[in-house]
């Protein structure tokens, strides 16, 4: 592949100083909104480029995206989607555009540029039409709506925990605890994830952001 900064070989990429988000990210629907959460470590090879980065990227007032893959790719995708979505919201006179539209925009761009991008995105939010929604758009550019999603290098270590502990129609507190515990477990086992865990709760009436500091994490490897 000729494009600069793009390679199938992770170590080659990180050797070139390209930032990767080795990461743990997740999003969960509950009966009234969604909770999105992520760790705060951005690595460039073994160097921790940032230990307090914010991977919770707002796309619109009630829509977030969680990014994993090559940082520059995911940041640019998010910028494009934010641009198109804001135009869409203005044209359609909707204060809260549909989450599915944001997901669709990510998907169209991820799929059409699949040879040049390494980006795996979770889109989560609330809209008045369909309520709380979570969509996964993995590397190939497919899209699927799910009740909760986990992604990033740390996600592999917590599939069992999530499958065993997720239940439908959780309350907000249950959902937040689920996210805190799952991320903490992932961060304790994945070398590329760590720092603090940030989370945000998206409800129809607003968004609240918070974080769990290192000495408050429930599971510390």
């Amino acid at each position: 592949m000729a494009a600069i900064g793009v390679s199938d070989n992770i170590s080659e990429l990180s050797g070139m100083g390209v930032e990767l988000t080795g990461t743990s990210i997740m999003a969960v629907t509950f009966n009234g909104g969604v909770v999105v959460g992520a760790d705060s470590r951005t690595t460039s090879g073994t160097y921790i480029a940032s230990r307090i980065s914010d991977k919770l990227e707002p796309i619109h007032s009630r829509i977030f995206c969680l990014r994993s893959g090559v940082s520059s790719h995911t940041q640019t995708l998010a910028k494009y989607v934010r641009h198109y979505l804001s135009q869409y919201a203005v044209n359609e006179n909707s204060e809260y555009p549909e989450v599915g539209v944001a997901a669709r925009l990510f998907q169209v761009m991820n799929y059409s540029n699949k040879d040049f991008l390494r980006a795996s995105i979770i889109v989560a939010g609330w809209d008045p039409v369909q309520g709380p929604q979570v969509y996964e758009i993995p590397l190939g550019g497919s899209m699927v709506q799910v009740p909760f999603a986990i992604s990033g290098s740390g996600s592999g270590y917590i599939y069992g925990y999530c499958d065993a502990n997720w239940k439908p129609n959780m309350s907000e507190n249950e959902a937040v605890d689920f996210v805190k515990n799952a991320l903490s477990l992932a961060m304790s086992r994945d070398g590329s994830s760590g720092g603090i865990s940030r989370y945000a709760v998206v409800r129809p009436d607003g968004v609240t952001r918070n974080y769990v500091s290192q000495n408050e994490l429930p599971f510390r490897g």
């Binding site: 549909e98 599915g100 997901a103 669709r104």
Partner: protein, 250 residues
């Protein structure tokens, strides 16, 4: 005072001293000569109807309709220069399908109407193009809300409770104003519209004509579909008989 044909009407790129663009006005005139079309927003949906002369006995009945589906939930009726109208409908279909391809959602009637109006407006800006000589009515449902729009050759677009265009539009307008639209269903409206269209035909009633109708309503589960032919014909015949009876003074 500059009237028509005094050199300011040669191109859409010229205003006259009174601030009119004559070519656009002429295009609107072209729509006034077309068959009458009606859009009615009733209690449970929207009915679109149009009538046209049938020139020859050799033409197959039901061919050359002026009512079109644009998406599953949005339909249109056209009048004026029919090929112009058909070209606009083609564009409307393309806009709708590209939109749903890009955004993953069916296009809302408001957005489609805006896009089509912008397209028609485009043709009033250049010397090498002429404005469409066709008036388009768009009706559609989005999320249990029914919306009706009328677009004219200048690119103007307005939303309506009821609208008429074409030759018999004035007569139909007065008839519509007598109805209370919030109280009737689209089913009831079919009879009333048949009455209006038949009454508004200035030529002798002996001239052959055809009425086309389509509706988007609760009854059609929110889809824009043709009004069933037998039902429409039944209402047409009933309307014709009632009108003849009234004229005989009974």
């Amino acid at each position: 005072m500059s009237g028509a044909g005094t050199g300011y009407d040669l191109s859409p790129t010229t205003y006259n001293p009174e601030g009119r663009v004559f070519q656009v006005d002429y295009a609107i005139k072209a729509t006034e000569n077309g068959g009458t079309i009606i859009g009615l927003k009733c209690r449970d949906g929207i009915l679109l109807a149009g009538e046209k002369n049938v020139v020859s006995r050799m033409m197959m009945e039901g061919s050359n309709k002026y009512i079109f589906g644009v998406t599953k939930e949005i339909g249109a009726v056209i009048t004026g220069v029919i090929p112009d109208g058909k070209s606009v409908i083609t564009r409307a279909r393309q806009e709708a399908s590209q939109y749903s391809e890009f955004y993953g959602q069916p296009i809302k009637p408001t957005v489609l109407a805006d896009r089509v109006a912008q397209y028609m407006y485009l043709f009033t800006l250049y010397g090498g193009l002429r404005p469409f000589g066709s008036t388009i009515m768009l009706a559609g449902r989005y999320q249990n809300e029914y919306r009706l729009f009328m677009l004219d050759p200048s690119g103007a677009m307005f939303e309506y409770y009821s609208c008429t265009a074409g030759k018999g539009s004035q007569v139909c307008r007065t008839e519509i104003d007598k109805l209370r639209l919030e109280d009737i269903t689209v089913r009831d409206a079919v009879y009333h519209v048949c009455r209006m269209l038949i009454k508004s035909r200035e030529e002798t009633r002996d001239k052959r004509y055809e009425i086309d109708m389509g509706w988007v309503s609760e009854e059609s589960f929110g889809l824009f579909v043709p009004v069933p032919t037998e039902f429409r014909k039944e209402m047409e015949n009933k309307a014709k008989e009632d009108i003849e009876r009234e004229e005989r003074g009974e």
